[in-house]
């Protein structure tokens, strides 16, 4: 057993399997949590029927998804239509590999962890576009085009905001960034003011990336029926939906790692802290989702290009100056 684990390939495989299991389980309960939360927000109960207070609802949903008939529109591009959902989930899960869960507990400490997570989550636009285009449905196509157009808008301020911690810590490795925060300051507070603005920009753009209200423009049920997922049924739809949850969850973990100190925190063990921060940010996302309306795609692009790109560039420059002359 021990020498089996010594083999890096097998160990990677095992770690990957473990990571996927953990993430998918977390997604199941987090989706239950979101539905319960939405129920409370809207003065109703949310799921109650399956299991105690609906706790087994995600399981029932998954079973339902597996049982349902899979439909592929006859005019659809079969190859891309089939490939898009698994690819979406793969790209969403990919980011989890380098997230430091606790000190020394991460699947792989990549030298360029920040870039790696950004790359994977940035690529998520493509399976969504593939799904939209290959469905041969005009609503889906519009949704896919919105996703790609939105993608090039949010990506730049998001990457620039994520570079602020990199500039402060001088490392692209996520575990280094957390270690810095554990020994110095949390980066949301440091450099004073700038870190907070960078965090807000990053988090806002992460909402856009994860198709979350107020930026769920590609999906836009009231305009585009279900956007790129319009023609999807059964487990393929389930894969797309869970990809979004996985992405939201990983974004929350990523944001808490970059800005909120990751596993760093007093009294409680590190694992608790990263969980508390991730879930806290997820609650914030959920809260925003169930209380805000949707903006238009041109409004989002105006926000990104006119305000956030200059703002994040300025923040980055000021951070550089701060590091050079103050801290």
């Amino acid at each position: 057993m021990a020498d089996l684990l010594a083999n890096p390939w097998l160990r990677g495989l095992l770690q990957g399997a473990l990571l996927i299991t953990v993430m998918m389980t977390a997604v199941a309960w987090i989706s239950w949590f979101e539905r319960k939360f939405a129920g409370r927000v809207q003065s109703r109960l949310g799921p109650t029927m399956v299991g105690p207070s609906g706790l087994l609802q995600p399981l029932a949903d998954a079973l339902k998804m597996f049982q349902k008939q899979e439909l592929i529109p006859s005019a659809a591009d079969s190859l891309l239509f089939r490939l898009a959902p698994p690819l979406a989930l793969f790209l969403a899960l990919g980011g989890a590999a380098v997230l430091p869960i606790t000190q020394g507990m991460l699947a792989s400490d990549l030298d360029v962890g920040v870039l790696y997570v950004l790359a994977f989550s940035g690529l998520l636009a493509f399976p969504i576009w593939m799904a939209g285009w290959s469905s041969s449905n005009k609503y889906a196509l519009l949704g896919g085009m919105r996703m790609v157009a939105q993608g090039i808008s949010y990506e730049i301020p998001m990457v620039l905001a994520a570079l602020v911690p990199v500039v402060v810590t001088g490392s692209l490795s996520l575990s280094d960034i957390v270690t810095y925060q554990a020994t110095h300051h949390w980066l949301v507070l440091w450099p004073p003011g700038l870190g907070l603005i960078a965090f807000i920009i990053f988090f806002t753009m992460a909402l856009a990336e994860g198709n979350r209200i107020p930026f769920d423009i590609p999906e836009a049920e009231s305009e585009l029926v279900a956007g790129p997922a319009t023609e999807y049924t059964a487990i393929r739809f389930g894969l797309i939906a869970s990809a979004e949850y996985v992405h939201s969850l990983i974004t929350c973990a990523f944001a808490s790692t970059l800005f909120l100190g990751g596993w760093d925190g007093p009294f409680l063990p590190p694992l608790c802290w990263i969980l508390i921060k991730t879930v806290g940010l997820f609650v914030l996302i959920t809260w925003l989702r169930w209380s805000l309306l949707r903006v238009r795609s041109d409004q989002l692009m105006a926000l990104c290009w006119k305000y956030l790109v200059p703002l994040s560039l300025g923040i980055l420059l000021l951070t550089g100056a701060f590091i050079q002359w103050v801290g």
């Binding site: 083999n7 390939w9 591009d77 190859l79 891309l80 990549l110 030298d111 360029v112 870039l115 790696y116 950004l118 790359a119 994977f120 940035g122 690529l123 636009a125 493509f126 576009w129 593939m130 285009w133 085009m145 790609v148 993608g151 090039i152 990506e155 990457v159 692209l172």
Partner: protein, 194 residues
Amino acid sequence: MLEKVSFGVVAFALLWPGFKVVTARNLVHTVFWLGLTLASTAVLFIMLQAPFLAAIQLILYTGGLLTLMLFGVMLTARDQGLLTVPNASHRRAFGGLLAVAAFAMLAMAITQTTTLPASPTAPITTQQLGALVFTEQALAFEVLAVLLLAVTLGAIVFARRGDAGSATENTANSIPARKPLPAPNAAVSQAKGA
């Protein structure tokens, strides 16, 4: 052994989509296969101990280029006919011959060169790269920045020219400007009268 197998897998994942890029009839498929090729290249970069380049490859090349290509396809291929242009069949034999000949020549050159370094050296860290960009290669970096600016401006100029042209062509049957709202009181009398 494991390394050989994994290299084989990555090489296949690189070359098979590459083959599909040049043979797929559907342009969107071409872009999709190109994306796979570029992603496999990123994996190859990781195997070459260049994780920074791999990440850049994913963000810039795969992300940026794919977006561009998709926009190119969607803006120009308005219907299925333009989306699936068959390859030029009369050039296929010629092109294939040339490609195979070129590959044979290159392969011969590669396999028969004895002075190639046999084993890898110490991996290059991202810090090294960063230091190099801003010291030794600073001029190249600046020139690249100027080039990117020029490209941005050029693309804007190219893309806008068509717009301006067609907007001024049809001024004859343009729609009359919006009339101002009547004052509320005037509207009341109008409404009551009707």
